[in-house]
C-alpha cells in the first residue's frame, strides 16, 4: 500500500500514546537504590591487611592521588636467625577529587589490597572531604562483590589450588595415619601408636599450603622434626616398607622434657631456647623408646645392602646388619623412592648427601641403590646422639664418596646421560667403599 500522505503524522501520535501507557524508564533514585551492574566501578576500596606498602599503586596512579605513609618495624626472629624488618601502613588515603577512576591502582596492586567497590554515594560539599582515609577505604572493602565464578573447565587459580591440595593432603594424611595407627596398634605400645596421628596433624598444619607434605618436609624444622628425618632417611636406606606410602618414622606426641628444661633455664638459657631444647630432648627419647618397642615386634631381618630395596616391590628389610640396634625397628617407611628426589636433599642429617641425591637414580635402577643401608646405619646411630653430630658425620661421609670412574666411563659409553652416569658411578663407588669397610672392619653389627 503506497503510504498515504499524513499517515506518518498519525503514526507519530500512536507512538507517543503507546509510550504513555507503558511504564516509564525513570528510576526514582534517592528513594529506590539503583540496581548497578555487577563489578560496578564505584570507589576504590582497600583491604589494608593485604597491603605491604609496596607503593606500586601510588607510583602508577596517573593523578598521584594516593597518599601512603608507613614505618618500618623490627620483627623478632621465629626460630633463631636474624631479626627482620617489615613495613607497617600508617596512612593510606585516596583523593577522590583527583581520582579519575582509571583503575590502574587496582590492576597494579600485586597483593590484592585494592578493589573496586560499587559504593558511589560519597559526594561531599567540600572538596577536601573527598580525600578518604584508610578506615573509610577499609569499610568500602566490605561491599566488594565476590569474583564471578570461573568458566567451566577454567584453570584453577594458583592460590585456590594450593589451598585445595593442602586440604586434601591433610585429609589423606589423617586417613593414612588412622590406617597406620590401626596397623601398628597390636605390636606397638601405646605412646607410639597414639603419637602418629597428632604428629601428622601438626606437620601438615605447619606445611599447609605447600604441596610438600612428604615426611621429610619436616626435616628443615630443626628441633621437633629433627629426629624424624634422620630416622626416616635411615629407614629409607634400611628399606623397611609397609603398604602405606606414608611417613617414615615413629611419631610421638610432642612434649617437654622437664628436667632438661629446668636445667637449661638454670643454666641461664632463655625460656624459648630452653623450651625448644627440652622439647627436642623429649622427642628424642620418646622416639627411641618407640623404636625399641617396635623393634621388639619387628619381623624378619634381611641383609640390607644386598637387597635392592625397590620401590615397586617393597621388601621388609629391617636393616639387620646395616643398622644399629635402635634402628632395625625402623618402622614403616614408604617406598623409599617416593620420597626421594625432592625430599632427601634437604634432610641434612643421617644419610650422607650422596645417598640423598641418589634415590632418584635408585628408583630407576636397582643396581645403584642397595648401598644405602650402611651410611644410613651410621646416620641413625648419630641421630640418637645429636642432630649436629649426624650432620657432621654425613658431611664426613660425603667427602669420602667419589665417582667410580670405571662405572662412569662404561655408562657414558652405553649412552646414558651424563647426570645419570655420574649418579650411578657415585653409587657404585659408595657400594665398593662400603663393601671394603665391611670386609675390613666388620661393619655388620
Amino acid at each position: 500500500m503506497p503510504a498515504l500522505k499524513g499517515v506518518g503524522l498519525l503514526k507519530g501520535l500512536g507512538v507517543t500514546l503507546k509510550t504513555m501507557t507503558r511504564p516509564a524508564a525513570t528510576r526514582q533514585y534517592p528513594h529506590v537504590k539503583p540496581d548497578l551492574p555487577a563489578r560496578s566501578r564505584g570507589v576504590i576500596a582497600l583491604i589494608e591487611e593485604n597491603c605491604t606498602v609496596c607503593m606500586l599503586c601510588a607510583r602508577e596512579c596517573p593523578d598521584w592521588c594516593i597518599y601512603i605513609d608507613s614505618h618500618k618495624e623490627q620483627v623478632a626472629p621465629k626460630e633463631g636467625g636474624r631479626a627482620r624488618t617489615r613495613n607497617l601502613l600508617d596512612r593510606f588515603a585516596i583523593d577522590f577529587a583527583l581520582c579519575m577512576y582509571c583503575g590502574i591502582c587496582v590492576e597494579v596492586c600485586p597483593f590484592d589490597a585494592l578493589h573496586w567497590s560499587p559504593e558511589f554515594e560519597y559526594a561531599e560539599h567540600q572538596i577536601e572531604k573527598l580525600t578518604h582515609e584508610m578506615d573509610t577505604l577499609r569499610t568500602w572493602a566490605y561491599s566488594v562483590p565476590a569474583p564471578d565464578p570461573l568458566e567451566e573447565g577454567a584453570i584453577e587459580p594458583k592460590e585456590i589450588e594450593s589451598a585445595r591440595k593442602a586440604r586434601e593432603a591433610v585429609a589423606a594424611k589423617a586417613a593414612a595415619a588412622a590406617e597406620q595407627a590401626r596397623a601398628a596398634a597390636p605390636p606397638v605400645p601405646a605412646p607410639a601408636a597414639a603419637a602418629t596421628q597428632p604428629a601428622a596433624a601438626t606437620t601438615t598444619g605447619a606445611a599447609a599450603g605447600t604441596a610438600t607434605t612428604t615426611p621429610t618436609a619436616a626435616a628443615p624444622t630443626p628441633v621437633a622434626g629433627d629426629a624424624a628425618p634422620a630416622a626416616s632417611a635411615g629407614a629409607a636406606g634400611a628399606g623397611t616398607t609397609t603398604a602405606a606410602a606414608r611417613p617414615a618414622d615413629v611419631e610421638v606426641e610432642p612434649g617437654i622434657d622437664q628436667a632438661t628444661y629446668d636445667r637449661l633455664l638454670a643454666a641461664g638459657e632463655s625460656d624459648r631456647t630452653a623450651r625448644a631444647k627440652a622439647k627436642a630432648a623429649y622427642m628424642r627419647r620418646a622416639k627411641a623408646e618407640a623404636r625399641a618397642a617396635q623393634a621388639a615386634g619387628a619381623t624378619e631381618p634381611a641383609p640390607a645392602p644386598a637387597a635392592p630395596a625397590e620401590a615397586a616391590a617393597p621388601t621388609q628389610v629391617p636393616a639387620g646388619e646395616g643398622a644399629p640396634a635402635a634402628e632395625p625397628a625402623s618402622v614403616e617407611t614408604p617406598a623409599a623412592a617416593t620420597a626421594a628426589p625432592e625430599t632427601a636433599p634437604p634432610a641434612p642429617s643421617a644419610v650422607g648427601t650422596p645417598e640423598g641425591a641418589e634415590p632418584a637414580a635408585d628408583a630407576r635402577d636397582p643396581d645403584a641403590r642397595s648401598p644405602e643401608g650402611d651410611p644410613t646405619a651410621s646416620g641413625t646411630a648419630a641421630e640418637v646422639v645429636a642432630p649436629g653430630a649426624a650432620a657432621a658425620q654425613a658431611d664426613a661421609e660425603h667427602l669420602e664418596i667419589e665417582v667410580d670412574q670405571e662405572t662412569y666411563d662404561r655408562l657414558i659409553e652405553a649412552g646414558e646421560p651424563e647426570r645419570t652416569a655420574r649418579a650411578k658411578a657415585k653409587a657404585a663407588y659408595a657400594r665398593k667403599l662400603r663393601a671394603a669397610q665391611r670386609d675390613g672392619g666388620g661393619a655388620g653389627s
Binding site: 503524522l9 507519530g12 501520535l13 507512538v15 507517543t16 500514546l17 509510550t19 504513555m20 507503558r22 516509564a24 524508564a25 525513570t26 526514582q28
Partner: protein, 330 residues
C-alpha cells in the same frame, strides 16, 4: 430561602462580583490543571515520570511550587528596555485571556456575559494577546525578542484567517453568533458529525498556531531565538506569560468545544462538567501534539496557512452555505 437567594442574585452589584469570582476561579484552576497535565503527559509520552516530589503524590503541587519560585525571583528589566511597555506587556497578554472565560456558556443558564456576537468577541479577545507579545518583543530591546515578536504577529495574521473562517462556518450553520445559541442548536454530539468536522480540524490547527504551541512555536524557537519575546523576562512577569499560554490553551479548547463538540451538552446530565471534560480532552490533544511533532520551519508554517488552511476553510464555508441554502440537514 432559595427565592431570597434568587432576589439577591438579581441585584447587579451582587451578581457581578459572584460572576467575576467564578470566572477567576476557573481561570486560576484550569490552566494549572492543564499545566500539571502537560508536565505529566509529556513526561510519560517520553517514558519519564515527570514531577514526583512536590505535593507528595506524583508532584501534584509542582505548579504551586513553581509559582512560589517565580515570586521569589528577581524581576529584571533590561537597561535599554522601554520600561513601561516592558512592564505592561504581560498584563496586556494576560487580561484578554482571562476575559475570554467570561463569554463561554458553561451551562443552559450559566453564561457570565451573554452577547449576540459572543463568538467574535471571544475570537477577538484571544487575538489581543498578540499585542502583549509584540509589546514585550519591542520593548525588550533585544533582537531575538523582536524577531520572535514579529514571527508571532506574522503567525497570528496567517492563522487568524482560517480560524475565523472555520468559526464563521459554524455561525452560518447555527444561524447565530451567540455562543449560547450555537450550543443550544447542536446535538450532544456537536457539529463534528458532518462536513463541519473539517472545520473542526482547521480550527484546531489554527488555534494551535495562534497559541504558538508546538509544532507551531517558531516565535519562541529556542534553538534560533533563545526564547523569543520571553528572552528578557524573569520572575513573576515571565510567570504571567506562561499563565497566558496555559489560559490560552484552556480558552481555545473551551471555544472549540463550544463550537464543534456541543459545549456543555452531553449524552446525559447536561452541565458544565461536560464542558470541563471536553476542555481537558482537547488540552490533552494539544499536549499530545506537542510531544509528538517537531517544530515546523517558518516558511512551512506560512505556506501551510495560506496554501492549505485558507483554501480549505473557504471551501468549507462554501459547502456549509450551500447545504444551508438548500436545506440539506446536517
Amino acid at each position: 430561602m432559595i427565592d431570597a437567594a434568587r432576589d439577591l442574585l438579581d441585584n447587579y452589584w451582587v451578581l457581578m462580583p459572584v460572576k467575576v469570582l467564578a470566572v477567576l476561579a476557573i481561570f486560576l484552576t484550569f490552566p494549572l490543571v492543564v499545566g500539571y497535565m502537560e508536565h505529566k503527559v509529556m513526561a510519560h509520552m517520553q517514558a519519564r515520570l515527570g514531577p514526583m516530589e512536590a505535593g507528595r503524590f506524583h508532584g501534584v503541587l509542582q505548579l504551586v511550587a513553581d509559582g512560589i519560585k517565580f515570586v521569589q525571583k528577581e524581576s529584571i528589566i533590561p537597561k535599554a528596555a522601554d520600561k513601561w511597555v516592558f512592564a505592561l506587556a504581560p498584563a496586556v497578554a494576560l487580561i484578554p485571556a482571562i476575559l475570554v472565560f467570561g463569554f463561554i456558556p458553561y451551562g443552559p443558564d450559566l453564561v457570565p456575559i451573554r452577547s449576540d456576537v459572543g463568538l467574535f468577541v471571544t475570537l477577538a479577545l484571544s487575538s489581543v494577546s498578540v499585542i502583549g507579545v509584540l509589546m514585550a518583543a519591542w520593548s525588550s530591546a533585544n533582537k531575538y525578542s523582536l524577531m520572535g515578536g514579529i514571527r508571532a504577529a506574522a503567525q497570528l495574521i496567517a492563522y487568524e484567517l482560517p480560524l475565523v473562517l472555520a468559526a464563521a462556518a459554524v455561525a452560518m450553520q447555527a444561524g447565530s453568533a451567540d455562543l449560547a445559541v450555537i450550543v443550544e442548536r447542536q446535538g450532544w454530539w456537536g457539529y463534528i458529525v458532518g462536513p463541519l468536522v473539517i472545520g473542526f480540524f482547521v480550527y484546531g490547527t489554527a488555534a494551535l498556531a495562534e497559541l504558538t504551541r508546538p509544532p507551531f512555536d517558531m516565535p519562541v524557537a529556542d534553538s534560533e531565538l533563545v526564547f523569543g519575546h520571553l528572552t528578557e523576562y524573569t520572575g513573576l512577569r515571565f510567570a504571567f506569560f506562561l499563565l497566558t499560554e496555559y489560559a490560552g490553551i484552556v480558552s481555545q479548547s473551551a471555544i472549540a468545544a463550544t463550537l464543534f463538540l456541543g459545549g456543555w451538552k452531553g449524552p446525559f446530565l447536561d452541565g458544565p462538567w461536560w464542558l470541563a471534560a471536553k476542555v481537558l480532552a482537547l488540552s490533552f490533544v494539544v499536549i499530545w501534539a506537542r510531544s509528538t511533532y517537531p517544530r515546523l520551519r517558518e516558511d512551512q508554517l506560512q505556506s501551510f496557512a495560506w496554501l492549505r488552511l485558507v483554501p480549505v476553510s473557504l471551501a468549507l464555508l462554501l459547502v456549509v452555505g450551500f447545504l444551508k441554502v438548500y436545506e440539506v440537514g446536517i
